[in-house]
Symmetry: C2
Subunit: 246 residues, 2 copies
DNA sequence: TCTTGGTAGTGTATATTTGACACTAAGATT
DNA sequence: AATCTTAGTGTCAAATATACACTACCAAGA
């Protein structure tokens, strides 16, 4: 029986790290390790308890860094999840027992999502993970805890956010083609977008710089490269604009 | 010096309760009571630590109920606030010392906002409050802790939300006039909206039911009453629509 | 070297939506 | 009767959204 003060909840962050492979949105999931060396077959979102002198964003950045080695990534809070029984599924409790001193204590988690360019690095299993893998979001099965719900919420928030800010650029290389951007928007919004209308709309925003460079070695007409123009975007934000909606 | 496990953060909810008085948006603030009977002069958002077997929404509903006596109100999470020093202002620490066994423990709070019809009730000072008052949002001064930041975030989220869902109806009586609705949108968005364009747009959504009833005793042309039509709204959501934006 | 397969890139016509704008109607008060 | 106040209404022009089909360019293989 825990002491009274042990009934205070713990607080963690969980991070929905999204990447784009030029076709699908992928989410970075970890495989849990058991204390006896075996690997659990349930995948989970990466996350960790927050440290004592860390704010929520710092905790999320730490998780992200341990997994990807990257810093300064796009990161946005998506909400808190705190149902008392969110850790109560039998498999989850079994796993918690093997890794924690306090398997029964309540944990409230703050969910973040971040957007990364999948080609920038290869994920490393971190201290809290046995394995790491990119999983296309349409192939994500049952996750640990309430992580399916968290993932769904984050994807919804991403769709809302991308209608207001061009955050999608974080999922692409610095140089990208309009075709890539088009496929990215279709993947995020999960619906087809007319090619000509998409190109017209994105170009009218005037936040892209056309580079004097084309694809090479592709078995079709080579596409021009563009890059996102932060300065023009900032000006656009200041003068006020309403929508990036598609 | 606290024990090690006491370093675990506590978790609270804070609630931005918004009301509309036919002119301004108002927020419900509490005055803190000191243990010696005096009243602190700093206003705060109502909130409380979450109970052991309560989820986050339940905790927010409880705070709301204790203050207003109302249930089943519109309530939406706006995010978590967890800076380690969010309780560290001198006045706040002084107050914490008079009311808590643990003045120095870290508290992470989950912010909610709710929308209520101001005429439905009169707020009651609850267990955690010395006084309760409606304050027009433009008159809100320095609040306790990081509550100004929380309020700002919640108002921003309200503006985003009302562009997607007609949540504003929760701030009005069941029967209302288009003029009231118009003033409400202007108050929330903090900008003037053309009367004719507003009416056209809101009516085209076809989610209002025109009642066979008019204002009485008003010293001007009486206005028709309308009510929000939940059924039509649900149909609209199902068939898909994009924007309530103004 | 010619054919094939695959993606890049472009314009127009129509329908819909937005934004600006000014007067009459109805009731209460004096 | 005059005055005050809010309710309620229509039109035009500009901007935006939608639907839609063909040519250009490159690589690879026949």
């Amino acid at each position: 029986m825990p002491h009274l003060h042990d009934l205070n909840p713990r607080v963690s962050v969980d991070n929905v790290i999204l990447g784009f492979d030029d076709e699908n949105l992928n989410v970075l999931l970890i495989g849990r390790s058991l204390s006896d060396g075996r690997t659990d077959d349930v995948l989970a979102l990466p996350g960790d308890l927050i440290f004592e002198n860390e704010n929520l964003e710092m905790a999320a950045e730490r998780v992200l860094f341990e997994l990807t080695g990257l810093t300064d990534l796009f990161l946005q809070q998506a909400g808190a999840f705190g149902d008392p029984n969110r850790l109560a599924k039998p498999k989850d409790r079994e796993w918690l027992k093997t890794v924690r001193q306090e398997p029964d204590v309540r944990v409230i988690t703050i969910a973040f999502f971040s957007l990364v360019n999948m080609n920038d690095y290869t994920p490393q299993p971190a201290s809290f993970a046995r394995s790491v893998q990119w999983v296309p979001i349409q192939d994500v099965g049952d996750l640990a805890f309430d992580h399916n719900r968290i993932l769904t919420t984050c994807l919804k928030r991403l769709r809302e956010t991308i209608a207001i800010k061009p955050v999608g650029f974080n999922l692409l290389p610095v140089k990208f083609t309009l075709g890539q951007l088009h496929r990215l928007y279709e993947a995020i919004l999960d619906k087809p977008l007319d090619k000509r209308n998409f190109r017209r709309k994105i170009q009218k925003l005037d936040i892209l710089t056309h580079l004097d460079e084309k694809q090479e070695g592709v078995p079709h007409k080579p596409s021009s490269f563009y890059k996102f123009n932060e300065i023009k975007y900032q000006k656009l934000v200041e003068t006020g604009f309403d929508n990036f909606g598609f």
